[in-house]
């Protein structure tokens, strides 16, 4: 199976390992990620205003590129996924935004939300299947107690993201089980890390990250996993260091025995 892939700015820089482990694992699992040519930054946060058009065009270009190739579009970064999925929903369901965006872009055929946007975890769950992953694990992460940190962007708003139950998600816990480890459910797994607030108000981010860390540690997790480079930064930088934090793709690559292939 071949997918279009939108890596996004951070996966080309500070979160290179999130990207590289994802690619190596995809290869091991038998699906291909074809990077979109000339993709542009999604902007990191979804523009909420109903009259925001120009700020959504980079996402529409990527979505249309996948449509023209007849491929589903994969994202790995939570933020890119959030923005692309919501812009796609606008193009599909909000006539005014769809018309105005197409007026700007003048594509060969108007884009109307045809592309299916999938997060890498959704591909693992819905296309590859966790049972299949379990069979391909050569290095099970036995004895590890792992807390999934979902954050906000993958889950909310639940109706549009349609990723999992926004208040009681299970996808990352199933993922952890498939790798042979034990998931730890803790109350703060879908609460905010502070996001972009950490640029100017570090103490707010610290307060929130410490709560997340303490909550997970209190339920006896050994480590946290995340899909978001900003959650990673905030938890590592502004948490109290109670637990180590890893990208979910790193653990996947480790369990599949392809971690060494990724040149550090």
């Amino acid at each position: 199976m071949k997918y279009s892939y939108y890596p996004g700015c951070t996966l080309k820089n500070k979160a290179k390992d999130l990207d590289e482990y994802a690619r190596a694992s995809a290869k091991a699992l038998g699906f291909e990620m074809e990077e979109i040519k000339d993709w542009q930054c999604c902007g990191g946060v979804y523009p909420l205003g109903s009259d925001e058009i120009a700020t959504k065009l980079s996402s529409v270009r990527a979505l249309n590129d996948a449509k023209e190739k007849g491929q589903d579009l994969i994202t790995v970064c939570s933020a890119c996924h959030h923005v692309l999925k919501r812009v796609n929903d606008d193009m599909k369901n909000v006539e005014d935004i769809c018309t105005r965006a197409n007026n700007y872009l003048k594509l060969d055929a108007p884009y109307e939300g045809e592309t299916n946007v999938l997060h890498y975890l959704e591909v693992l769950r819905d296309e590859v299947g966790f049972d299949e992953i379990k069979k391909k694990v050569v290095n099970p992460l036995k004895g590890k107690k792992i807390g999934a940190y979902y954050g906000c962007l993958l889950l909310r708003p639940g109706k549009i993201m349609a990723f999992d139950n926004p208040e009681n998600p299970t996808i990352m816990e199933e993922f952890i089980r498939a790798l042979g480890a034990e998931p730890v459910i803790y109350p703060y797994r879908n609460e905010c890390c502070g996001g972009y607030i950490s640029l100017k108000e570090k103490d707010m981010a610290q307060n929130m990250c410490e709560k997340i860390m303490d909550s997970a540690k209190g339920f006896e997790a050994d480590m946290l996993i995340t899909a978001c480079p900003l959650c990673m930064y905030n938890l590592r930088k502004n948490g109290n260091g109670a637990l180590p934090v890893y990208y979910f793709t790193e653990l996947l690559a480790e369990a599949l025995g392809v971690k060494e292939e990724v040149a550090k």
Binding site: G44, Y196, K200, L230
Partner: protein
């Protein structure tokens, strides 16, 4: 004056347009404020935003600290039993302010002092989009 939409009533209408929110749907249950992780930092609380827009008291909103404390975490949007989406109202008020030149909350000159070796690109692009135009 932090915006120039003629008068408070126009500004209130503009906020409703940009956000797509109908403040009259709110039943004042306060769940948005109860779930907001930035509640303690906000001078006008999420459940109060609705009333300010209803009353056309946009000056106070435009000058509130809350505009810059909202995290866009969508907890209030997800958990509102009436689908009012207070987070979208806050964003619309912020838009009213940052779309006026000179009202940005973040200047490029500040960046070097605010970042470190590990700062992800995502943090900068997100902050730029939320805090300025």
């Amino acid at each position: 004056m932090a915006y120039t939409y003629g008068n408070a009533q126009n500004a209130a209408e503009r906020i409703k347009e940009i956000s797509g929110v109908n403040p009259l749907k709110c039943m004042k249950c306060g769940k948005c404020s109860a779930t907001c992780p930035a509640f303690n930092e906000m001078d006008i609380k999420p459940h109060q935003f609705v009333t300010y827009v209803q009353n056309g008291d946009i000056d106070a909103l435009a000058q509130s600290k809350s505009l810059w404390k909202c995290l866009s975490c969508f907890a209030c949007v997800e958990r509102c039993p009436r689908d009012v989406k207070p987070g979208k109202l806050i964003d619309a008020a912020r838009q009213l302010v940052v779309r006026e030149r000179g009202q940005n909350y973040l200047e490029a000159d500040e960046i070097p002092e605010l970042i470190d070796e590990e700062t992800p690109q995502q943090l900068l692009v997100s902050a730029f989009r939320r805090y300025r135009r």
